[in-house]
Every structure is written in structure tokens, then in C-alpha cells.
Symmetry: D4
Amino acid sequence: VRKPTVAILMGSDSDLPVMAEAARTLDEFEIPREVIVTSAHRSPERTVRYVRRAKSRGLRVIIAGAGGAAHLAGVVAAHTTLPVIGVPLASSDLAGLDALLATVQMPPGIPVGTVAIGKGGARNAALLAVSILALTDRRLAARLERSRREMAAMVSERSRRAPAALAKLLAETSPKR
Amino acid sequence: VRKPTVAILMGSDSDLPVMAEAARTLDEFEIPREVIVTSAHRSPERTVRYVRRAKSRGLRVIIAGAGGAAHLAGVVAAHTTLPVIGVPLASSDLAGLDALLATVQMPPGIPVGTVAIGKGGARNAALLAVSILALTDRRLAARLERSRREMAAMVSERSRRAPAALAKLLAETSPKR
Amino acid sequence: VRKPTVAILMGSDSDLPVMAEAARTLDEFEIPREVIVTSAHRSPERTVRYVRRAKSRGLRVIIAGAGGAAHLAGVVAAHTTLPVIGVPLASSDLAGLDALLATVQMPPGIPVGTVAIGKGGARNAALLAVSILALTDRRLAARLERSRREMAAMVSERSRRAPAALAKLLAETSPKR
Amino acid sequence: VRKPTVAILMGSDSDLPVMAEAARTLDEFEIPREVIVTSAHRSPERTVRYVRRAKSRGLRVIIAGAGGAAHLAGVVAAHTTLPVIGVPLASSDLAGLDALLATVQMPPGIPVGTVAIGKGGARNAALLAVSILALTDRRLAARLERSRREMAAMVSERSRRAPAALAKLLAETSPKR
Amino acid sequence: VRKPTVAILMGSDSDLPVMAEAARTLDEFEIPREVIVTSAHRSPERTVRYVRRAKSRGLRVIIAGAGGAAHLAGVVAAHTTLPVIGVPLASSDLAGLDALLATVQMPPGIPVGTVAIGKGGARNAALLAVSILALTDRRLAARLERSRREMAAMVSERSRRAPAALAKLLAETSPKR
Amino acid sequence: VRKPTVAILMGSDSDLPVMAEAARTLDEFEIPREVIVTSAHRSPERTVRYVRRAKSRGLRVIIAGAGGAAHLAGVVAAHTTLPVIGVPLASSDLAGLDALLATVQMPPGIPVGTVAIGKGGARNAALLAVSILALTDRRLAARLERSRREMAAMVSERSRRAPAALAKLLAETSPKR
Amino acid sequence: VRKPTVAILMGSDSDLPVMAEAARTLDEFEIPREVIVTSAHRSPERTVRYVRRAKSRGLRVIIAGAGGAAHLAGVVAAHTTLPVIGVPLASSDLAGLDALLATVQMPPGIPVGTVAIGKGGARNAALLAVSILALTDRRLAARLERSRREMAAMVSERSRRAPAALAKLLAETSPKR
Amino acid sequence: VRKPTVAILMGSDSDLPVMAEAARTLDEFEIPREVIVTSAHRSPERTVRYVRRAKSRGLRVIIAGAGGAAHLAGVVAAHTTLPVIGVPLASSDLAGLDALLATVQMPPGIPVGTVAIGKGGARNAALLAVSILALTDRRLAARLERSRREMAAMVSERSRRAPAALAKLLAETSPKR
């Protein structure tokens, strides 16, 4: 078992279904990762203790997902100089707008690279970590580029199927005006 | 000199002109206070150290003002069981909406009593602290009630002067349509 | 039966399922409370009558939850110098943003300590009341601190279980891209 | 001197320059009016006392302007069955969005007819009052209709002058791209 | 059959379930009303024709409900000097915020009294119409005041039942933290 | 088979059910169209290649629908001088507000004509294309005008049925207050 | 003098400085245009009369700019099948967000192609009109493409000068942290 | 002269005063950088050409700042697997909210690490780049940590001076209520 190089933190275990997308993506690229539930507010000391040891334990990127007044990524960034990526989660009534602003509007001095709200953001957080790690890992860089090409190919393939899918939709549904 | 019972924290000394309103209000009620500049992000350890000692130093209420991804009140609340009052500041491009959401949308377990954005909020943070302290200080309670009556009287007085002020305004300005 | 020290007001009985969270929390800490349905708009006189008598009846903190143009907490605060805590409720089409702004943006002079929208906010309103009462109740303070430690322990416990839960999720679900 | 038929209430005398627009408009239509500064929060009893006596004093429409957590119109509406028109004011950092939501999102049972934020809203509040009074005052109705025709004529006149004004603008300013 | 005194306009028959609340409310007060589906955009000429004849047909108040870029109330107000009440509907993806702004932010000169988004707003539009008609109908005024008292009594009654309802809720549900 | 004159682009095949409305509308007017799935981000080269050839292939209008950080219409517009119509899609947590702003707020120099979020917008994108093509196609212009008249007639027809539909609704549902 | 092919409508002559940008742009491309001040609300009949005659007078595209509850473009679109381009103006307290939503969120059936808020939007409205007219005017199409190339060249030129401009800025200003 | 390792791109030279903050920060850490003005919309080919060559030219991180419908960072990210950091700029009427959403809400597959709106965000973009480069540069890592300590010390120093600054403020200004 290789030591983890990316940590995936989340404020609550109810965030797991969304943040799993980050884990799945790192697994695709065979990047060892660990998953930690820790809250900036409910377990602040544990959070700080974890973050302070992150670098010496070999971690290189920290991904932090949280909802509402999402302070987790900011608190993590305050205690490490490792790159920190924040994933705002739509767990409150405000659809993630609160989490987005609380994650991205960091004061000068303590950066958090923020990605989109929710599952797509969790995937992109992992891909941003991959792109950082790929700077010094030629094989990973090649794999990332291959993944991009596959993605483009998949879009082409879906486009090829679109006319038939559309014809089916138009036949089935009645007009909405 | 009496020991401070209320702490006024702010994330940056550029917040001083707004947070001064909280100090001025506590001074009106002769409540000893102290003013600390400390950031949840730029001086996290100092913030935590300060907050952990607050209770034993005799502080009873903590007021925390911050702008942007305003984590200060939340981080303070995570490290103390004293009542924490958050003042969102309009120091970013988003007019304080970011600070408001980052202060008020705290997760269950760690409360922050949030007041209005800016100077009016800073005054109200102090008044809320006064109302808490007045629960066990009859003289303070009486003073707070007197202050309310004076405020109502001042509104009456301003109303009395309004017709004349209005007449002047109408005479001076040309219609805007 | 002890006399209530915290009042939980709400604008409509349809708010009960959310505001119940405040009652449950106060019950956890064995703080006597009472629950009142009264509207700033539909029963304004009853609201004012209730609030004016609150202090002499021994109440020490008032929690008020309302949705839409949520004036309840503000109207309560206008008639008492007791600490007032406002809970914005997401009962309109605007997901509680209206209730949040109508509760928190109080003018200087009349403070309302506002908490998060919805159930989490209701719990935090009660915890803020507990932290206020704990200022003069050593046993309550100890209990509040114990509750914080239990919360942190629960987060640790959930973190311990997270890798297994994640593995299960990853095995079950197909990738979403 | 005729008894006032329309009351213009505002939460603070700093609202006078905006609310003056309502007074000016009522003066244009020779509708007797009075101007009162009274706050839903800072002088709640005076507000209620005033509103309760409004009908018997001969008032027929109440206009209420307030900013921030603008409760004034709602509190007025809660204590009278006269038509109440709310003017949201942009006096906080949130540009009047808070005042708009706090004025318009009233619960079923207590209506407030809300107009636009600021000076234009103040004028329209007066015009809506005029249209209500004109239902039973044929001369006023005729005058209102004449005013509409004059307004349309003024637009035509301005359109006639637009090409020249535009030519001047284009000659003076350099292109912005 | 009495001639209608209030018109309820809506932009689409899909708005009927919401706008029905206005009809129901007028029926409670035995105010004759008519319901018209007409769009500011899809049937502009019919809308204008209807509005121009409204006054001479005996109508005294026009209620207009629309969603999205809700222009109906504004277009109606542009063609009549009768009081116009706008009901923003949450029929687009933006939860009625678009309809609210498109209804309330009218330019100076053409007022629309706007009420809350959705069903509660539809009820309040009718009640505002009742309050306008009650200015010259003593029996209607008395009925409106009685309705207010009944509403207050209903709140009291619900408050009386709240403790039992709460106890049931607390017994049934498990804590959510 | 006639060559397509309108292209319907979308960023993902999951947008097909919404964008189908544009296809259906063009089919109503017998305007030949083609449907392409291509992403500004995931298949940028394919997008650019397609757009660059559009004009010479006989396309005259390009409709582009995308959600989230919706760059598709903007990227298309950057590579062609054909008229480009953008349809913001509500595929993220922010209900299409992100897509709307990312589509409409184009910098001076590169225009995108933006329509409403979602299905209604997709239909209108097609109708705007029709109105552009109708400038030089008298038969199409006549058909478009007939379609407008039919739409107005349908609104009248629905209005005729509204009283009966309302009566049914009022009989069925109980009041909501 | 050639007959105008593009009309630039605006709701108020105070919009002229912004809408002038559309005129200037059309002048650049030597497209004859006319400028009309007419309001959807204050001069509705004149607006409709103008729009109905537009097509037969030889106009081919209508640009309409308005602020607040910006109904002008929608009302224009309701009365013509010519392509209509809406420019939202930031003339209210809400920075043009109201005008944007009131312009873009049109119901299915009546399209308005909406551009960015303000001056940049006014320029793009004109450029979109140019791209529509260029569909059947080869010389105009060539000119539009040349304009695009010049724009790209200007960006390159500015980029060439950027390092020197930056060095000057860095030398002059002190760091802001 | 060392080859640049970080590129700072911006959509317009009017963004230079804000993006200069990123350059200044990289200069502090002696990281070679280059500054490019290029637009996703006005010079799309140049943008793509630049980005495609970035990696082979030795660049390791790309920072992209843009306002309005800010597509620059997304378009850059679509054409490279290097880490891309987006800086939303407040150059439109919407105070940067449009740029924030257009930068951060990227679809799964193409990540952009987004920082705060404006100057603070520009500084943090550079610091995030530093933290990425520091992963493989021990001296840079040490320097980054020293910078953090200096920042914390500066906060302490400012806190020390705060009481005197506050006293001065309180003496000078009159109370605002």
C-alpha cells in the first residue's frame, strides 16, 4: 500500500456521497488518497492537528468539501502551505451559494482554489490535484492527456447518437408551449 | 481599571472604523472591553490561543467582525462556549453578502448570533452583549431600558421636526420623474 | 414543574417541525421552555402582550422563528431588552433568503442575534441560549462543554467509519461525469 | 387647512429626501397629507398608537418607507385595515434588496402593496394612493388621467429632441470598446 | 348577478391554481369578480382592449398575476388609472425572483402595488382589493375587521394546541444534528 | 433533404430533452436544422472546427445551449460572424443563474443574443432564428405571423374556459391561509 | 439619406448616454438607424403604434434598452415579428439585475435576444443587428469580419505593451495585502 | 533571464491594475512570470495558440483573470492539462458575481481553481501557484512558510496598535445611530 498523496476532507459524513466522486477520480488515476471526516467547527482541534501533520506524512494536495458557512477549506489553508482545493456543497437551503462564497472569498494571503458546487466540483477537485501532481510525474501527465482525449471522443460519440435520440424524444413527447 | 468582559475581535485593522461602533456602544454602557486584531486565516494560532483563554480571563461575550469569506466568528465559536456574536463586514466586492452568509450559516452545534452588515451591525452586536450582561446586572438592565426610551423619544423629536425639514426639501429641489 | 426560562415563538404552527429542534435541544440541557405560536402580523397585539410580560414572568431568552418577510424576531426585540435570537425559516419560494435578510438586517438600536436558516438554525438558537444561561450556571457550562467534546468525538467516530462507507458507495454507484 | 387623507410614514428622518418624492406627488394632486417619522423597532408603541387612530382621524391610505429589515409597512398593515403601501429604501449595504424582500413577502392575511426601491417607488406609492382615492373622486380621476397624458406627451417631446442630443453625445465622446 | 368589481388577470391558464386563491378570497367577502387569461406578450391587443374598457364596465381594482419576465401587471397599469395589484408567480427556474423584480421595479409614473410571490400573494392581492373597496363600504370594512379578529383568534387557538403537537413531534422523530 | 440552415449545439447530451424544444419549433416552421453535441471545454477543438465551417456549409443561425459556467455560446460567437443565440440551462445547483450570467454578460465585440433559462428559452431561440430567416423569406414571415395569431387565439380560448376550470378548482380544494 | 433599417428604442432620454453606443456602432458599419424615446409604461400607445409600422417602414431589426422592470423589449416583441434585441440598463438600485431578468425571461412564444447590461451590451446589440443584416449583404459581412480581425490585432498590440505598463504600475504602487 | 514558469493572462489591458497584484506577488517570491493580454472572445485563436505552447515552453501554472461572462480561465483549461487558476474580476455592473459564477461553475472534466474576486484574488492566485511550485522546491517552500509567519506577526503588530488607533477614532468621530 502506497502512502496517500491526496487527502479528501469533508465536514460531515453526510457529504460522503458527493465527495466520493473525488475519491473515484483519484482511483481512476491510481493516486493514493485518504478520506477524513472532520469539521472546522465541531472538531476544530482534530482538524488542525491533522492538517499540521499532512506535509510531513507525505500528503501533497488537500481537497476539502463543506456546505453552509463552509469554513473547512479556509481553516485547512490557514494551517498549511500545501495547495488546498475547496469544494462547496449544496447542503443548506441556499443551494450552495453560501458554501461557494464562504469558500472562494478568502482574504489575501491564504489561497483556496475553489471548484464548482457539488459532484462535478468534487470530480474537478481531484482532476486539479492530478494536474498538480502531473507537473512532476510524466506518466501521470500522459494519462491525464489521454483522459482528455477520451473525453473529447466520448462527446463526439454522443453527438453521433444525438439525432436518433432527438427523433425519439420528439416522437414521444407532446409540444410544451 | 476593570477587567474586560467583552472582547471585540476583527480580522484586519482596516475593519477598525466599522468595529469602533461596537466599542463606542460598550463605552456608553461603561462595560469594560478590549479590542483585538486577529485573523482566522492569517494568524489562526493566535486566534485560537486568545479564544481559549477568554473565559478564564473573565470575558463573557465575544464579538467578531470580518468580511469576505468571514470565518472569524465561526472559528471563535468553535473554540469557546461563551456566546459569540458575528458582525459581517462589507469589505469585498459583494457588499457583505458573502460575509453575511459565511457568518450566519453555521452548522448545527456551533452557534453564532449574527447581526446586520456593517456599522449598524457593530452597534447592535454591542447592544446584544449588553442585553446578555444585563440578565444578571440590574443596574445595566435599567440603563438599557432607559436607552430604549431615549431612542423612542429621539424618534418623536425627529418626527416633530420632519414637516419643516420636508418643506425645506420640497422648496429646494426640483421634481424628479 | 419549573418556570420556563426560554420562550420559543413561531409565526405559524406550520413552523413547528423545524422549531421543534430548538425545543428538543433545550430539553437535552433540561432548560425549562415554552412554545408559543404568535404572528407579528396576524396577532400583533397578542405578540406584544406576551413579550412585555416575558421578563417579569422569569423568561431570560426569547427565540423567534419566522419565514418570508420574517418580522417576528424584530417585533419581539422592539418590545423587550431580553436577548432575542432569530431563526429564519425557508417557508417561501425564496428558500429563506427573504427571511434571513428580514431577520438579520435590523436597524441600529434593536439587536437580533440571527442563526442559520431552518432546522440547524433552530438547534443553534437553543445552543446560543444555553451559552447565555451558562454564563451564570456553572453546571450548565460544564454540560455544554461536555456536549462539545461528545460532538467532536462523534465526528472522529464517523471519520473512522468513512473509508468503509466510501468503499461501499464506490462499489455500488457507477461514475457520473 | 383640510385634514390629511394620506399618511407618509418613514423609519428614520434620514429617509426624508427619498420619501419627500411621495409628498411632492401628493401636493401636485392637492391631496392633504402628513409626514411622520416613526420606527417599527425604535418607537414601536408610538407607531401602533398612530396607526390605530389613523382611520378615525380620516386617513384613507398609509404609505410607509423603510430600509434594511424593513418591517414598518408590515407592522402598520398588522394594525389597520386601511390600504398600506410599502416603499423599500436602499439604505443598507444590500442596495434595498433586503428592504424589498422584507416589505413584499408578507404572509397571507396582511397585505402590503409594495412599490419600487427608492425615489421612483416613493413617487409611485403616492400615485397608487391617488388612484385609490380617485375611485370615489371624479375630479381627481380626471386629473390623474390628464397627468398620464402629459407624461406621454413629455416622452414624445423628449424623443423629438433625442436625435440632436445623440449627435452631440457622439461628437463629444470617444468610442468605448 | 352583480357586475364584477375586481378583475383577476393571469398570463397563462397554468397560473390558475395559484390565482384561484385570489378568487376564493374575494368570494369570502362576496365581492363580484371575473377571471381572465390574457398575456402581455402573447395576446397584447386583447389585454389592452380589456384593460381600456375595465373602468367603464364598473371594475374598480385589477389584480394581475404572471411569472418570468412578468410584464402583465405593468402593461395593465400603463393602460388604466385604476389601482393595479401585481402577483409575481414562481413559474420559472428562478423561483419567482424574476417575476418579483419585473413586477415591482416599475418606473416612476406607473404604479403597481406588488404582493408576495405565489399563493399567499394571491390571497393578499384580494385582501388589498378588499381594503380599497372597504374605504367606501362600511359593511365590507366591518367584515374585514371581523376577519382580522378571527385570524388572530385562530393563531391563539393554534398556539394553545402547539405544546401537545410539539410533544408528539418530539416523541416521534429522532434528533437531527 | 435540404441542407440545414440552423444549427442547435449543446454542451452535453443530457441537455437534449430541453434543447429538443428548439428542434421541434424549427420543424414546425419546416426549417432544416442539425443537432450537435459539443462542449466548449471537453471538445474545444471539435467545437471550433464545426463553427468555422458553419457559414460555408450554409448555416445561417447558430443556437447554443449550455449550463453551469456556460461558455458554449460565447466560444461559438468568438469564431463566427453568424448570429448566435444562447440558451442558458438550469443544470447546476444554482438553477441556471450561473448559465444565464455566463451566457449574457459577453464583452463588447462578441454578441450573443440570450433567451430565457430552459425549455421556454429553447423554444424562443428557435423563434428568434425564424424571425431572422423571415427577414428574407416572405412565406416564412407570413407563417410566423399566422403562428402569432394562433397563439393569441389559443389564449382567448383558454380564457373562455377559465371560469369553469376555476369553479372546479374552488370546489375541490380547501382554502390555504 | 437612406431609410433606417435598425431602430434604437429606449425607455427614457436618460438612457441616451448608454444607448449612444449602439448608434455609434451602427454608424461605424454605415447602417442607417433611428433613435426613439418611448416607454412601455408611460407612452404605451405610441410604442405600439411605432412598432406596428416598423416593418412596413423598412426597419429590419429593433433594439430596445430599458432599466428597472424593463418591459420595453418584451412589449416591442409582442407587437412585431421582426428580430428584437433587448439591452438591460443599470438604472435602478439593483445594478441592472432587475432589468436583465425582466428582459431575458420572456415566456415561450415571444423571443427577445438579450445582451449584456449597459454600454457593452448596447454595442453588442448593434453588432448582433449587423450580423443579422450581414446574412444578406456580402459587403457588410466582409466588413464585420474585418472588424473582428482588427479587434484581435488590437488585443495583440495591447498585449505587446502590457509588460511595460505593468512595470510602471509595479514601480508606482505600493503593495496591497 | 530565467524562462517564465507562471503565465498571467487577462482578457483586457484594463484588468492590468488588478492583475498586477499577481505579478507583484510572484516577484516577491522571485518566480519568473510573463504577462499576456488575450481574450477568450476577441482573440480566441491567439489564446488557444498561446495555451497549447505553454507546457513545452516551460510554463507550469497559468493564472487567468477576466470579468463579465469570464470564459478565459475555462477556455485556457480546455486546452491544457497544466493547473489553471481563475481570478474573477468585478468589471461589469454585477460586481464580479457574473465573473465568479462563469469562472467557478466549470463542468466535470475541466477544472479551474478559482480564487476571490479582484485584487485579493489576484494575490491569492499567485500564492496558490507558489504553493504548487513549492511542492518540488524546498527553498521556495521555506520562503512561503516564512512569509506566512511574517503575515501572522504583522497581524499581531497591528493588533498591538489597535487600541490607540481606536481611541483616536472614538475621539474624532461623533456617534452614528
